[in-house]
Symmetry: none
Subunit: 134 residues, 4 copies
Amino acid sequence: MLIQIDFASDLPIYRQLRDQIVIGLATGQLEAGEELPSVRRLAADLGINLHTVHKAYQQLRDEGFLVLDRRSGAVMAKNIPDQPEFQNWLSRQLEPLVAEAICRKMSTNDLQALVRTLDQSMRQLKKDGEMQNE
Amino acid sequence: MLIQIDFASDLPIYRQLRDQIVIGLATGQLEAGEELPSVRRLAADLGINLHTVHKAYQQLRDEGFLVLDRRSGAVMAKNIPDQPEFQNWLSRQLEPLVAEAICRKMSTNDLQALVRTLDQSMRQLKKDGEMQNE
Amino acid sequence: MLIQIDFASDLPIYRQLRDQIVIGLATGQLEAGEELPSVRRLAADLGINLHTVHKAYQQLRDEGFLVLDRRSGAVMAKNIPDQPEFQNWLSRQLEPLVAEAICRKMSTNDLQALVRTLDQSMRQLKKDGEMQNE
Amino acid sequence: MLIQIDFASDLPIYRQLRDQIVIGLATGQLEAGEELPSVRRLAADLGINLHTVHKAYQQLRDEGFLVLDRRSGAVMAKNIPDQPEFQNWLSRQLEPLVAEAICRKMSTNDLQALVRTLDQSMRQLKKDGEMQNE
DNA sequence: GTGGTCTAGACCACA
DNA sequence: GTGGTCTAGACCACG
């Protein structure tokens, strides 16, 4: 799976890394149970600091996406645990974005379409990957 | 309009302030052309520093939401200028959120419904406010 | 002569006023010896403060463009005195602008053309005005 | 690159700093991709406050001249983005200067020559620097 | 009164 | 080490 870091972004590197791994999982580029590169390896490949990769992995573990084991390294979780507050959290993240879309005169339909497109394209990618594996 | 700052949040204060003003504009709690409190006044009301408010106002000005009129202080812009890259920007913001929703097993319908609810409730609030003014 | 103030500009109002009067003089909309409106009158017309107009007039007087007299009010100077350091001053003003033009990949020719156009259009306006008066 | 701050100038320090960096870029004293001193370092060298340098850097970043790389601090941008309204902006800056030159009886030729000299001397400095590097 | 600039000094997140 | 944020308090230009 290709990971691209933008060093000039305002988003911290560890967050970019974390986000891309989540996106990878959503699009099927990463599967449950799949092994991730070691901290060392990934840091070297991306040309970033060990700490940075470690921090991203830690956060993914805290969120239930990743299982860290001394022997088997980093493995994508098989079962992502329910996060009871997830919808509320998501709602809070979405709120300012939706507000800005309204202010920028985006229509309800355009906004819905944008979310739908993102959602469907990711799910489609995942389905394609799964069919290939069968 | 009520503004609430969460000092424990990881989101910087000036960003919380900026976001809430945008939300206020989307929900009609703030209207185009309306005067905002002066930097000093708002800082005192919220118990934060003058510079923090100043920074939020500056950002809103740069984004075209606010006009800093030399005579009357801060005034919500009448015409919010188009931001040519706005949809792309929004898409990039939405991508990791949608990805996480998929990973957390949220259905397409639930996600759509969540966005719809946010969008509609804000637009409704705005419409209510406008009807009251007539 | 029409004067337009932009209250949202970063340029102070008295400077906008001063600049437009100088432009008016360069384009012949104002002539040497012509009377300007009184401070009171102009302030009322533009909807700005007395002090602001006063400050603009003072600066124009200091620069030799305007003669202020208690009886005859404000009169455009007949002979604008030489300002020995003017070329140096102008050069210093121009330097960052030319530098930015270079950085923005504007060609020497385009820059020259831009200055020429501004210069010629003002001089032409002035000549037109003078012919009309004969 | 030598930077000189005039504490008596009416131009704010952060603007002087910003202007001199742009001039440095135009004259080749600063090259695309070159690292700038850290905010702290430059502030100490110039005897000014950290925040003042920070503000200049932020503005340069907003204008596309500077990239604030998370790893290596401040780096001059490789590709300065087009500013669609740049010519209009420049024209507005130039207008009062040209008008004043006309009022001060500067000839079209002298004005053209002045701009040409500034432009050519900066471009020449840049070319010299580039030849030296080969 | 307003916003804008500058200083001084602190703490934090990031790498 | 870096930049980013926040605070406190001062002065100035503008209107």
